[in-house]
């Protein structure tokens, strides 16, 4: 079969992207996200202009982060919750933070097969994690995509993560509410849950509480309540509840959502929500600065030239780490402290 060269896809201009997002025109909205994900500098420049224009339209969504170990039934849960929210008249976007190790070549993007029902609803939008990016890259694109979703008028943005590396912390840092899913009947040491994840939780939901599992789920919920009682709560006005839910049957989802709404109300009334979001932005800004400075230091030609020399000096014991650090910093252009 002969293969003809197709027409190059028409490029959108700044207005095209901005209006596409504001009108929530699926195709242009999706391409705006692709623009955000692009690594080309001219695309990144345009992406920042698009974001700048859209900024006044952002901030309106409930931002909810969701984590849980593989096998906890996260997709089924998100699909059930998402469908329920759409039924109640809300629009829902689902984003994912799933960094890939810096492998070259293509990637298999998270398959959507597991959220088929949700992906077909007009008021729902699902976008897997951007391909082939390390955590820093995924964090930036997901945060900015979240803003696009808000500009497009989505009422709820769910950000899910599989919990690789520091991804839970990163997600907790971009949402208003952080939900941790657990399995029934297994202690957290069995669930491979990382220390510290429970401390991020605004709510723990024991999933798969259906059929014969209900009793085990209740028991697990009791254990987590006990565990949370001895932890210091993140917010003075909010003690994280523990619920049992089932993504399969939908049991407990209404209660879970009303807890999320209650959290929103509490945090809005005491001014914490606004405060939290501003803090997140500040930390986000500084973390980007830190990343850039670190990268600049390591890529600096004089530092690169010095690297092997000071490293072997330390290995051979002819150089103390403090002296070596001073030399590296001076090479980078910093004055000694």
């Amino acid at each position: 079969m002969s293969v003809a060269t197709p027409k190059r896809r028409p490029e959108l201009d700044l207005d095209g992207y901005v209006n596409g997002v504001l009108e929530r025109d699926l195709s242009r909205f999706a391409r705006a996200i692709t623009l955000i994900e692009s690594r080309k500098s001219e695309h990144q420049k345009l992406a920042q202009e698009v974001l700048g224009r859209l900024l006044p339209h952002t901030g309106g969504a409930r931002r909810v982060g969701i984590t849980g170990v593989p096998g906890v039934g996260k997709s089924t849960f998100i699909e059930a919750l998402g469908c329920k929210l759409v039924e109640s008249g809300l629009s829902v976007a689902v984003l994912a933070v799933d960094p890939t190790s810096g492998r070259s070549g293509g990637s298999i993007l998270g398959d959507k097969t597991r959220m088929q029902r949700l992906s077909m609803l007009d008021k729902a939008f699902i976008r897997p994690s951007p391909a082939g990016q390390a955590l820093g890259g995924v964090t930036r694109t997901t945060r900015e995509t979240l803003l696009l979703c808000e500009a497009a008028g989505f009422d709820v943005v769910l950000v899910e993560t599989v919990g690789v590396g520091q991804s839970e912390t990163v997600v907790a840092e971009m949402v208003d509410f952080f939900l941790v899913l657990m399995l029934p009947g297994a202690g957290d040491e069995l669930q491979g849950i990382k220390k510290g994840v429970l401390e991020l939780a605004d709510l723990i939901a024991v999933n798969k509480s259906d059929g014969d599992n209900q009793q085990r789920a209740q028991m697990a919920a009791r254990d987590y309540r006990a565990a949370l009682r001895i932890m210091h709560p993140k917010d003075a006005d909010w003690s994280p509840p523990v619920l049992t839910v089932s993504g399969l049957t939908g049991a407990g989802l209404d209660e879970l959502w009303s807890e999320i709404e209650r959290h929103r109300k509490t945090m809005t009334d005491n001014g914490q929500l606004d405060h939290k979001r501003k803090d997140q932005l500040l930390r986000w800004m500084w973390s980007m600065v830190d990343d850039r400075v670190k990268r600049a230091l390591h890529e600096h030609p004089r530092v690169k030239a010095l690297r092997s020399e000071v490293e072997s000096g330390i290995r051979e014991g002819t150089l103390t780490p403090t002296v070596a650090a001073e030399r590296v910093l001076r090479a980078f252009g910093l004055d000694p402290v």
Binding site: M1, V3, T5, P6, K7, R8, R9, P10, L26, S27, A30, R31, I33, T34, E37, S38, R39, K40, H43, Q44, G71, G105, G106, S107, I108, L109, D111, K112, T113, R114, Q116, S119, M120, F125, I126, R127, P128, A131, G132, G211, L248, T249
Partner: protein, 674 residues
């Protein structure tokens, strides 16, 4: 009494005798209940000794023929069955009490058995005399065939309930048929085939034990009802050894694990369809020899000989078989059983050190794999975690890599490709089977009629009882028979259980797969893709999926894995997708290409639907669409008119060719000109 000679087969009285042949089957069914009934009756007249029913995909996946997702598939790969009225038509003139009927049915197996029982009751035939098999092996559906509906836990419950119902009431019925056939089609090695099939059988026995419905005596008899459906590939010596290993391992497992004392109930009973995976689209006449050789693997060794055999047709890689193609395969069986001396000897291989060593080797590998699956918590856990699926996709990727490197020879494909054009495909029909497009009307009218004239109250009540049984944990078989008698439809029965159990989407198994495909062309393509990536700021993106109900996902999986291998970002959405799901996904992901894989013959309808949706979204310019699967050359023109940019078939076995062609479709004019 004559002196006993070792090479002679003798009966109880010491008289020389000959074995009875195995059951000759032909896997058949198409178009409509009426057309299939005519086909069955003519096959039985030709000397076929059992029925093997092929159902169409909507029936297998639990949809009525008039469901939008079902329409393109009605009658394509088998017979459509919507209600008991269709069954009356299908078995007209065929006495159930004398017929051994095998049904290739899984997700809706309980429903089809219920229809069969209801038919016997309405005809006044004795339910207890029914003979046959419902395939009902859900594990391999999750892994290879794709007609699952419910989650593993509920699927295992349905299988167990059918064993419990059949044991006393239909004692000659095989409630399920553990399949390793499809595992080999999906790329399984002999050891994986042994281990995965036996682990599935272990899963069924464990489930029967845990449910505690049977006394030990009943449990032993139920074990004796477990039958297997095995594949036989072209490496026929190894296949024969595999069959001996199967028998020995099953005997060992049933005795040691489950304490089955009666050796009769420990026997490995199996039927066969020989391999389709190795059949080629190039020089298809060679497939006749392949089928013959594959048949030897399951007939030569008397102690490991199959009980029933169905053969594919020589043109399987081109289309569904015509009646003549099926007759040709049936004649092969008859010649082997009646003209040759095969059935006159005791086992030819007992005591052969070579065979014994090979068998021991296979058994050791299989035992290790069974232990591994045990360690994961058994077959259900190994499915839910994706372990089994991922193992199979890996084996298939290895096979494909080895053919690409010429480590495996496939005559007419990677060696001796040049040949004289086959006269077999030059008839008026091009050697292909065509479905009469008008026949769907008859099926749809019958369905409408059933809904119109049934007692609506009775049907409603029957569905309510079915749901109640599903929720309470009671056996659902009798409630299903009542549904059948009340003229409930296939889609209604499955829909009721979907409500209670939910639908299942298994792991696709393609993540993290590696392909052993390297070389100058791969490197050159990667460079081109890197240039594209630098220029666009992102990688080229392909959405791979299977529209429609056909669940044979090997091809789509290999395309997804190789596209990733050369540098694409791949969105693989798995099987049983509606065209609008694929298009939405492609738009949400800003994809450059949609790759749709279809093996059921519905490619034209599905292509039209896909292109219409892309037009409506204004994305036809941006997103190229390509098709792959069992697609006759005669349809290429039609697909091109619809707007499909390239079509790939089993002839295109070189993955790198496929990748180059796909990428050329989306490469910018500037890059293509270099």
């Amino acid at each position: 009494m004559a002196e006993k000679k070792l090479h002679q087969l003798t009966d109880q009285d010491g008289e020389a005798t000959r074995d009875r042949p195995w059951i000759f089957r032909t896997y058949a069914g198409h178009t409509s209940a009426r057309a299939s009934n005519e086909l069955y009756r003519s096959n039985l007249e030709k000397g076929q000794t059992g029925l093997s029913i092929a159902f169409d995909l909507p029936t297998q996946c639990g949809y009525d023929s008039d469901d939008p997702i079902a329409l393109p598939e009605v009658g394509k790969v088998g017979v459509p069955i919507n209600s008991l009225d269709d069954f009356h038509l299908l078995f007209e003139g065929i006495p159930l009490e004398q017929m051994n009927t095998s049904m290739t049915i899984n997700g809706t197996s309980m429903w089809l058995l219920a229809l069969y029982v209801a038919l016997a009751r309405e005809r006044g035939e004795d339910e207890a005399k029914l003979m046959g098999t419902t395939q009902n092996d859900i594990i391999k559906e999750y892994l290879a065939r794709g007609t699952y509906i419910f989650p593993p836990e509920q699927s295992l419950r349905i299988i167990s309930e059918m064993y419990e119902y059949c044991l006393e009431r239909i004692p000659n019925w095989n409630a399920s048929n553990v399949c390793s056939y499809h595992l080999q089609e999906a790329g399984a090695t002999p050891a994986q085939e042994l281990a995965f099939a036996l682990s599935t059988a272990i899963g069924i026995l464990d489930s029967l034990k845990q449910r505690g419905h049977f006394s030990h005596e009943q449990f032993e008899r139920a074990t004796g009802r477990i039958s297997f459906f095995v594949n036989s590939g072209i490496r026929f010596i190894e296949e024969m050894c595999k069959m001996r290993a199967f028998g020995e391992l099953w005997d060992e497992i049933t005795e040691q694990r489950y304490g089955v004392k009666n050796p009769k109930f420990r026997r490995f009973r199996y039927g066969v369809q020989v391999n389709s995976l190795g059949l080629t689209e190039n020089q298809p006449e060679n497939n006749a020899w392949r089928i013959l050789l594959e048949t030897l693997g399951v007939t030569l060794s008397r102690n490991a000989r199959c009980r029933a055999l169905q053969l594919p047709a020589w043109n399987e890689a081109l289309s569904l078989p015509r009646p003549w193609d099926q007759q040709w395969s049936l004649r092969l069986q008859q010649i082997l059983a009646y003209e040759t001396d095969l059935l006159e000897y005791p086992d030819l291989f007992d005591g052969s050190p070579v065979v014994q060593s090979k068998v021991e080797d296979l058994k050791a590998l299989a035992r290790a794999e069974i232990e591994k699956i045990d360690g994961m918590g058994g077959v259900r856990s190994a499915i839910e975690s994706g372990y089994m699926k991922t193992s199979l996709v890996r084996s298939m990727a290895e096979r494909v890599s080895r053919i690409a490197k010429n480590e495996i020879t496939v005559v007419g494909v990677n060696k001796w490709q040049e040949g004289i054009e086959s006269p077999l495909v030059s008839g008026d029909d091009g050697g292909l089977f065509k479905i009469d497009g008008e026949s769907v009307k008859e099926t749809l009218e019958a369905l409408k009629a059933v809904r119109g004239k049934r007692d609506a109250e009775r049907a409603k009540a029957a569905l309510l009882s079915l749901k109640a049984a599903a929720k309470s944990g009671a056996n659902m078989m009798e409630a299903s028979v009542e549904c059948a008698l009340a003229r409930v439809t296939t889609g209604e029965w499955a829909g009721a259980l979907r409500e209670v159990f939910g639908e299942y989407r298994p792991v696709t198994g393609i993540e993290g797969q590696r392909l052993g495909l390297e070389g100058e062309r791969v490197e050159a393509l990667r460079k081109r893709i890197q240039r594209f990536t630098d220029e666009r700021g992102r990688r080229p993106r392909i959405v791979v999926g299977k529209p429609g109900l056909d669940g044979h996902s090997n091809g789509a999986e290999m395309i997804a894995v190789s596209a990733r291998h050369v540098g694409f970002d791949v969105v693989y959405s798995g099987i049983r997708l509606r065209p609008d799901e694929i298009v939405t996904s492609a738009i949400e992901e800003s994809a450059d290409v949609i790759g749709a894989s279809v093996l059921s013959g519905s490619h034209v309808e599905l292509a039209e639907q896909l292109m219409k949706l892309l037009d409506e979204a204004g994305a036809r310019e941006r997103i190229q669409v390509i098709f792959g699967g069992i697609i006759p050359q005669g349809d290429f023109e039609r697909l091109a008119q619809i707007g499909i940019r390239a079509v790939f078939t089993p002839k295109d076995y070189e993955l790198i060719d496929i990748m180059e062609r796909i990428f050329s479709l989306i490469e910018s004019p500037a890059a293509a000109a270099e």
